[in-house]
């Protein structure tokens, strides 16, 4: 028997009518389980949600015809289960409310202190850093929405160029050129203080 970890790595994509429920389950259950596991659910919750998803998938299978829609349809059902679980389950709700990316922000309320913690207690230097930080935030706020989006995805969410390209549905080259434009505008706004930072 195949290793369950390798299940779902098939190149062929048969149409729904060509797959038995068991085959459909074998093909997509690992991906659906990974989808839930990536959302920080516990092992038991992942199992429950995966099972619920496939009950809905198999119940509605008769109404599905085309090959192209199958994966999107399975994903839609999984995503809806996830959204419902976020509403229903305390653990998921707390994860959703707290937000992974929000946690470090609380610790970075005083950027000057973070920046200079290990350097000196020089009040003048701290004041300068705070001023730099304020100017940076103002310059970032002045960027156009398309440039702001790529900067936020790159610096706040730590995405690669390819990931940003997928999320914004634009070519990787466009991602890079937008980041370069953002750097140019920030340099114009801050002058020599900006230095040589690239994105």
């Amino acid at each position: 028997m195949d290793d369950p970890d390798s299940m779902g790595r098939h190149d062929q994509k048969p149409a729904p009518g060509e797959m038995t429920p068991a085959e459909l389950y074998q093909r997509y259950a690992p991906s659906v389980a990974k989808f839930f596991a990536n959302r920080q659910f516990s092992r038991e919750q992942v199992q429950d949600l995966t099972q619920d998803t496939f009950l809905s998938v198999l119940r509605g299978l008769k109404g599905l015809r085309s090959r192209e829609r199958l994966e999107a349809w399975v994903f839609k059902i999984a995503a809806n289960k996830w959204r419902n679980a976020c509403r229903d389950w305390t653990t998921a709700r707390s994860y959703f409310r707290e937000g992974v990316a929000d946690k470090p922000l609380e610790a970075e309320e005083d950027p000057a202190a973070t920046e200079d913690r290990h350097r000196s207690d020089n009040p003048l230097r701290i004041t300068l850093i705070r001023e730099e930080h304020r100017l940076l935030r103002e310059a970032l706020a002045e960027l156009s929405p398309p440039l702001q989006n790529v900067v936020l995805l790159r610096l706040d969410q730590n995405l690669s160029y390819e990931e940003i390209s997928t999320v914004l549905r634009i070519p990787t080259g466009t991602v890079k050129s937008r980041l370069n434009s953002a750097v140019r505008q920030l340099r114009d706004a801050l002058g020599h203080a900006y230095g040589e930072v690239s994105l």
Partner: protein, 259 residues
């Protein structure tokens, strides 16, 4: 300006803007976005949301990669522990279908629910028909119409391709016996074959049977198997349609003394 300072400033801007973040897009909207089916105005709204919402960004990335997702760092694992047993999904499905059908027969029903009732009824009729057919085949086998009479018959069920329900124990007290193999989807192949692989090393092919023909219900009848061909012990029976492996059956043959 250092990279850290720039990153901190960006996060501060994001944190402030996130306080005014609107509702999350629905899964349907995300799928439509990924398929390029939204207007430019809707796309811009969603992109502004993604820039501030790591949850929705991760969902869009998963959607783009689906079904070839990778487990992210911090996710529970291993994967095989996360996937519920297919058997339990199937049981739950079969338990719920008759209940739904009964509930839906009361009063006037919308067309979708009527369709569900019709599908459930079809399943029921197909099951009854198949049971009758299997019973008839068993009787014919016992009578010797299909194979030699007075030979025990054992049925083995597989749960689709490469899924084994569990080790079946076949205890034989006669010199010969018959096997009835069920397969989830026999498909349509020119040649079907069965091979028995040693369950100990799962490599050595002990026995092979060619030119099998499924019944119209997709059942394979292997008649007149001699216990000398398959010495006692664990086996993996592999059913092939052409070169494609259709099903596996884990079997333990135990032979009693012939009376």
């Amino acid at each position: 300006v250092t990279e850290d300072l720039l990153r901190n400033a960006t996060r501060k801007v994001a944190a402030t803007a996130r306080r005014h973040l609107g509702p999350h897009p629905s899964p349907e909207e995300l799928i439509a976005y990924q398929a390029g089916e939204l207007s430019s105005v809707q796309e811009e709204r969603l992109q502004a949301h993604f820039a501030l919402c790591p949850d929705c960004t991760a969902t869009v990335l998963d959607l783009g990669a689906f079904p070839n997702l990778e487990l992210r760092v911090g996710a529970p694992g291993p994967l095989k522990d996360l996937i519920p047993d297919w058997q339990s999904v199937r049981e739950r499905l079969s338990e719920e279908e008759p209940v739904d059908a009964m509930a839906q027969t009361r009063g006037s029903l919308p067309w979708r629910e009527k369709l569900l009732v019709a599908v459930a009824a079809s399943f029921f009729l197909a099951t009854v028909g198949l049971s009758y057919r299997v019973n008839t085949l068993e009787q014919r086998l016992v009578k010797g119409e299909v194979a030699r009479g007075n030979v025990p018959l054992f049925t083995l069920a597989a749960e689709g391709v490469d899924r084994i329900r569990g080790q079946e124990q076949v205890s034989v007290s006669s010199d010969r016996f018959n096997l009835m193999l069920f397969v989830a989807n026999p498909g349509s192949y020119k040649d079907y074959s069965l091979e028995a692989v040693s369950g100990r090393d799962q490599r050595s092919v002990i026995w092979r049977l060619e030119n099998l023909v499924p019944t119209s219900e997709g059942i394979f009848l292997i008649s007149d198997v001699s216990r000398r061909e398959l010495p006692p012990g664990p086996y993996l029976l592999r059913l092939y349609g052409g070169a494609k492996r259709l099903a596996e059956y884990q079997v333990l043959f135990q032979y009693d003394k012939i009376p």
